[in-house]
């Protein structure tokens, strides 16, 4: 592709190896993994291999990986499944104000079912107040759900400290982590976090759409959302999508290998991008955490006085693709709940863009994107002078 695709937090292009594997699986291993004949057994084996690959990247036991159709389903299964299953023990749930909509809307839904929910506010960098967290957790708190890396501004939440607070205050409170934006890019530490449930999605790590997983620590009490044939240890019925799961497994392995080196590569991309923009002299500011403290693959910038959508379309003409708000809501031009949560005011709220990188981006693309952004910003400002 000419130009630069910098919307990798919305979705990523699949790895070529992943596509090769998927077409082979689709062709040769089409059997139903639950069938007991040869075609079934060989399909089952493919899924087992994928499960092992995903488990290895997460550093967990493979039996604890429940495959789903994506991150949204994984979050729904974790949150609704844990809340409902543990209702006898308590009706209180905790999350933050800047989660992905699949988490926030689960909480809203559960509130309608009679649960009580606390939404922890975040500061300008997207950080929650740990004392407030500690204060919120009580004997009736059955679940805390916290995003690892925020998808719009890249805040990395201090999950080890959060986990310690949760488990010290109430050892029976379950801890769910939405790791959709960090899995196979940053190092995940389920044990150190004392997490019980972790959501991941395939299409954010150069795997296919329509696959994801929920890690369910052994013994975690959870109700299924889908009933039926009892696949995935009874937690997720439905014929398994063998090809997509195989693709997910391989994508996890490829994206998750040499993580340290890749983090450095992301850091270089981000630093270069910011440096070029600073050199250009245009007026912009960084939303959320300091760039060096945030996830290396996400940066959210505000361009005062400019409408984000106009800038987005101007960049698009140069084949530079970015996003305003998160993808799933970017068709509804309401200001982002994340940017509102970190306290951005009107002008910046509607003048912010997210740039998100992947391991397939190179420095040339970054330089091009910085140049096109500069040109577009200058052009738009000249129009409205």
């Amino acid at each position: 592709m000419k130009g630069a695709y910098l919307d990798n937090s919305a979705t990523t292009p699949p790895h070529p190896e992943v596509l090769d594997l998927m077409s082979r699986v689709q062709e040769q291993f089409f059997g139903n993994p639950s069938a007991i004949h040869y075609k079934g057994i060989e399909a089952k084996r493919i899924i087992t291999a994928a499960r092992r690959q995903v488990a290895n990247v997460l550093g967990v036991r493979e039996q604890e990986i429940i495959f789903t159709s994506g991150g949204t389903e994984a979050n729904n299964l974790a949150i609704c499944g844990a809340a409902r299953r543990n209702r006898k023990r308590g009706d209180h749930l905790v999350t933050t104000a800047f989660e992905h909509h699949s988490t926030i809307n689960c909480f809203r839904y559960l509130e309608k079912e009679g649960f009580r929910a606390s939404y922890l506010p975040v500061d300008a960098s997207g950080m929650i107040d740990l004392e407030m967290l500690q204060h919120e957790i009580g004997p009736a708190t059955t679940l805390v759900s916290i995003i690892h890396v925020n998808n719009e501004i890249g805040t990395i939440l201090p999950l080890t400290a959060i986990g310690r607070i949760i488990k010290t205050k109430n050892p029976r409170t379950l801890f769910h982590v939405d790791a959709v934006q960090s899995f196979a890019r940053l190092t995940l530490d389920p044990e150190g976090w004392q997490a019980d449930l972790i959501s991941c999605s395939s299409h954010k790590i150069h795997g296919p759409k329509g696959a994801g997983c929920l890690w369910v620590k052994r013994g975690t009490p959870l109700d299924p959302l889908l009933h039926g044939g009892g696949q995935e240890a009874g937690l997720r019925s439905g014929t398994e999508n063998t090809a997509a799961l195989a693709g997910f497994g391989l994508a996890a392995r490829i994206s998750g290998s040499a993580q340290g080196k890749k983090e450095t590569a992301f850091v270089t991309l981000k630093r270069t991008f910011l440096k070029r923009l600073e050199e250009s002299g245009i007026d912009f500011s960084v939303n959320g955490p300091e760039p060096e403290k945030a996830a290396p693959h996400i940066i959210n910038l505000a361009f005062p006085g400019i409408k984000a959508e106009m800038l987005l379309h101007a960049l698009e003409e140069k084949q530079v693709y970015v996003s305003a708000g998160s993808a799933c809501h970017s068709r509804h031009p309401e200001p982002s709940h994340v940017l509102k949560a970190i306290g951005l005011k009107d002008d910046l709220l509607t003048g912010s863009l997210r740039f998100s990188f992947s391991i397939l981006n190179d420095l040339d693309e970054i330089t091009l994107a910085a140049k096109e952004t500069t040109d577009a910003v200058e052009y738009l400002r000249s129009l409205f002078k």
């Binding site: 979705t11 040869y38 159709s69 063998t242 998160s326």
Partner: protein, 392 residues
């Protein structure tokens, strides 16, 4: 090793057709965008999703706005049943049949545990529900009827059109699990009084992990998942675009070829049934005529179906006993018990399901292999001897 392989388990799942793969491929490569993104890569993909919706609607006689893409048949069924119950709010009455797929039965059992009343209609020896019994089961608080269009184990077709009439008259929502019938027999939603219809692409030579739910305009359910606003909020989550495109292409192909395929499969089915019934003490399960063109389900008395399956597998023939998803379990199938088979007979049943790619030679090969397999197993069967039946 040039072992002959014959795949006769198309009701469990089907291979994806070349044309379908071709249609999907661009959406893995250059068209990988997220359909919710407002930039050009996103918009192009959004258009493809909407075109797929139009094609799917056209194939079913529905409006595009009535088609929702899901992650498969199980999810479509779960969304409908749980969503209709949730929408209603207060406890009520649901009517289903005793031979539904677990993706309906188990949700119904859950709903019963949560306070709804559920009637599981019995079926006759062929697996058909009776319209009279349906009428009698209806009470003032009945809000949903869920009856499958075709059964996945014995292939029996239900009188969907008559059930729809009853539902319309009594103002009750009607859902049909059409996972097995889609792509096999024509579905015209303009003529059927159906409010919800579930289907799954991997049963008609499309990809796995993608399904559709038809929701008649005006019919309402509460969504199962919360999240972004995808699929007009009924099914949030980043869309499985290649899957959606694959489903619509597979549907288009299936519908275009439906008449020829039906004729071809019925001829193969006839030959198979005739051949299998020539083995003594063999019973045909399901309805003699009102059945899917691709389904053959027989019980060989005095043998274990699983043993037959394994022997067939060694000969390169893939078939199934019970439905795929419960093959791991030892309980005889709930469907075979519902049509009145005793345990030993149910245990001796095998489902052969034909599909795209099966030939007359495949059937010849099966008919050549199977008498030997069954007779070998019967030779070591205690009941076969004590019955004093003929020995070889």
């Amino acid at each position: 090793m040039s072992r002959r392989t014959v795949y006769m388990d198309h009701s469990a799942t089907t291979p994806v057709r070349e044309e379908v793969v071709e249609a999907m491929l661009p959406f893995y490569h250059e068209l990988f965008g997220n359909p919710s993104s407002i930039h050009a890569p996103g918009r192009t993909v959004r258009r493809a999703v909407e075109e797929a919706r139009e094609k799917t609607a056209l194939a079913l006689g529905a409006e595009p706005g009535e088609i929702f893409f899901t992650a498969g048949g199980t999810e479509s069924n779960n969304i409908t049943l749980r969503g209709a119950a949730k929408k209603r709010g207060e406890p009520g009455h649901i009517i289903t049949s005793s031979i539904e797929h677990h993706a309906v039965l188990d949700v119904c059992s859950e709903l019963a545990a949560e306070g709804h009343r559920v009637t599981f209609l019995p079926v006759d020896q062929y697996g058909r529900v009776s319209i009279d019994q349906l009428q009698e089961a209806i009470t003032p608080d009945t809000f949903l009827i869920s009856i499958m269009a075709a059964n996945n184990e014995i292939g029996t077709l239900q009188p969907i059109s008559a059930i729809g009439e009853v539902a319309r008259e009594r103002k009750i929502l009607f859902h049909t699990d059409a996972v097995q019938i889609a792509g096999q027999l024509p579905i015209d939603l303009k003529k059927l009084n159906v409010d919800f219809l579930s289907l799954s692409a991997h049963k008609f030579n499309g990809p796995k992990g993608i399904g559709a739910l038809y929701v008649r305009k005006g019919a309402k359910v509460t969504p199962l998942y919360s999240g972004g606003g995808q699929e007009r909020k009924l099914r949030p989550g980043t869309e499985n675009v290649p899957g959606i495109v694959g489903l619509s292409r597979a549907m288009e192909l299936a519908v275009a070829e439906i008449k020829d395929k039906k004729k071809r499969l019925e001829a193969l089915r006839y030959k198979m049934i005739t051949g299998l019934m020539a083995i003594d003490e063999t019973i045909l399960n399901g309805h003699p005529e009102e059945r899917l063109p691709n389904n053959v389900n027989v019980s060989f008395k005095h043998v274990e179906g699983e043993a037959v399956l394994l022997s067939l597998d060694l000969e390169g023939i893939a078939a199934s006993s019970g439905s795929a998803c419960s093959s791991g379990s030892l309980d005889p199938s709930h469907v075979l018990r519902a049509i009145g088979l005793d345990h030993p007979t149910a245990h001796g049943s095998i489902r052969f399901s034909l599909g795209w790619g099966n030939t007359e030679e495949d059937v010849d090969y099966l008919l050549e292999v199977i008498p030997r397999v069954v007779n070998n197993l019967r030779r070591i069967s205690p009941t076969y001897r004590t019955n004093g039946s003929r020995k070889e």
